[in-house]
Symmetry: C2
Subunit: 282 residues, 2 copies
């Protein structure tokens, strides 16, 4: 609940002179959100025209960050409550409480490496890169413990060419179809061991050491397979100063596209990672 | 503090087979973060080369999100604590508690409009646009209550050409130089009224209705001047389905550049806005 003192402060400030409340009708007359979205019609410089046109499509690779997201540990669910509301206070603001590795989120070296970089120290250039999506959904449909292996990387390169430096390489396993069912997403057995696909340490190491990629991403809860107790893919990635993204959505939409990924990770102070907006620009 | 049960679960899982701990020396041998950053050397398709090269620079427009950030209300400071640590548990994760309008953050229509769109409903295309920076730092240095007026928009267009559709228009007042001193940033007088620059409602309305921009941003705590009690710029922007970014950093660096802004706003469930990573791609 909201601190009564804060609510009073906000209310007094908002109500001092009476606010020009916009009705629903006025809002729609003034041009709703649905009427927008097109970029670059009357434009200022050729280079800006070109840039706006070159980013004509934005694809969201993020799930909604909410209170029912699947989590690696059972009691990592985020919580939220109203802090102030338009009805009572003139503004609406929520208060959140959560641990950093829920929802579509990033793992940064400090998550596993005692002296590793935290989010606020991490170089911004690393968070932008060419999207490469390696599809292992066929074998993941047969075996929940399937790994993205070096052979999968080699097969992708045989078909498409060498993975470029600075890429962000995603494992697409099809697991995101289970997102709305956290029990199916965690897929824990009777002993509590989770089962879902992940990177092999060998593939992750190759991508970093031989292709100099910026980071990796998965559509599951962990860079490693769910059953891992040694977290070798995490160590391979974070131990080499790279990052991982977990709980990535919608990879099928960019699988065969030329896309640039922007990892919108707020600059969480001393963060081990945290919630992020992951966007693909086509 | 961490729930003992959770810590135990993590520790058991991590320690079950003993982890391959990476030493500092190994980490550096394996290639530290500093050796990275260059994009696109050996590359896969011409279009991907072109895209990687066209985004050769990333500029961070975000402040660190931490416990000492300036806030509009005095008691909106975020807090964080260790949830688990590498030393004790094998991983490091923080737990955060904060209200949505702290740090570099976004205001979405629901912040002021009772039936306005929340973050999870907001169209992703709106969060990408051409950066336009209007510099009012000279008059803001003379008068803390200075507004970005219609005349400032007209002067900018006279010098640069018409602001393109889909732009994100920033007020650069120079106020971000005060960020590390929250008292100077809020600049409250003896009666508690804050004083810093903001958009005039007239300028904001013109930019939306006549230029069809995606959103606005400021380097202060509010879209309106700090002394406002009627929040007319907020109503002009959010009431028309657009967004605002507050606490933007580093606008001087992109003032005279052709840049695309990507607003990395995580998909906060029912969010009135929230912390974001705001990046400029040059």
């Amino acid at each position: 609940m909201c601190s009564p003192k804060v609510a009073q402060t906000v209310r007094e400030r908002v109500q001092r002179d009476g606010l020009p409340q916009l009705s629903r009708r006025n809002f729609l007359q003034l041009g709703g959100v649905s009427a927008l979205g097109a970029m670059a019609a009357s434009v200022l410089k050729p280079s800006r025209v070109a840039r706006a046109q070159s980013m004509s499509q934005v694809i969201d690779l993020s799930h909604v960050f909410g209170t029912t997201v699947p989590t690696y540990l059972p009691d990592e669910k985020p919580s939220r409550e109203d802090f102030v509301t338009v009805e009572n206070d003139g503004f609406y603001i929520q208060r959140w409480t959560y641990t950093e590795h829920a929802g579509t989120h990033v793992d940064i070296p400090a998550h596993f490496v005692a002296d590793g970089a935290t989010v606020d120290q991490y170089p911004i250039e690393m968070l932008v890169g060419t999207a490469i999506v390696i599809d292992i959904s066929a074998k993941a449909a047969q075996l929940a413990d399937a790994t993205l292996d070096l052979e999968d990387v080699q097969a992708w390169e045989s078909a498409n060419g060498e993975i470029p430096e600075g890429a962000i390489v995603f494992m697409y396993s099809g697991w995101d179809a289970r997102w709305s069912d956290p029990t199916a997403f965690r897929n824990a057995d009777a002993e509590g061991i989770q089962h879902y696909p992940g990177f092999s340490a060998e593939a992750a190491t190759f991508l970093i050491e031989n292709r100099n990629i910026h980071g990796v991403g998965v559509d599951t809860l962990s860079l490693d397979v769910g059953a891992s107790s040694t977290f070798e893919a995490h160590y391979a990635v974070l131990g080499r100063g790279r990052f991982g993204i977990e709980g990535v959505a919608n990879l099928a939409a960019i699988k065969d596209q030329d896309a640039t990924v922007v990892v919108g990770l707020p600059r969480w102070e001393k963060g081990s990672g945290g919630p992020a907006r992951v966007l693909a620009l086509l």
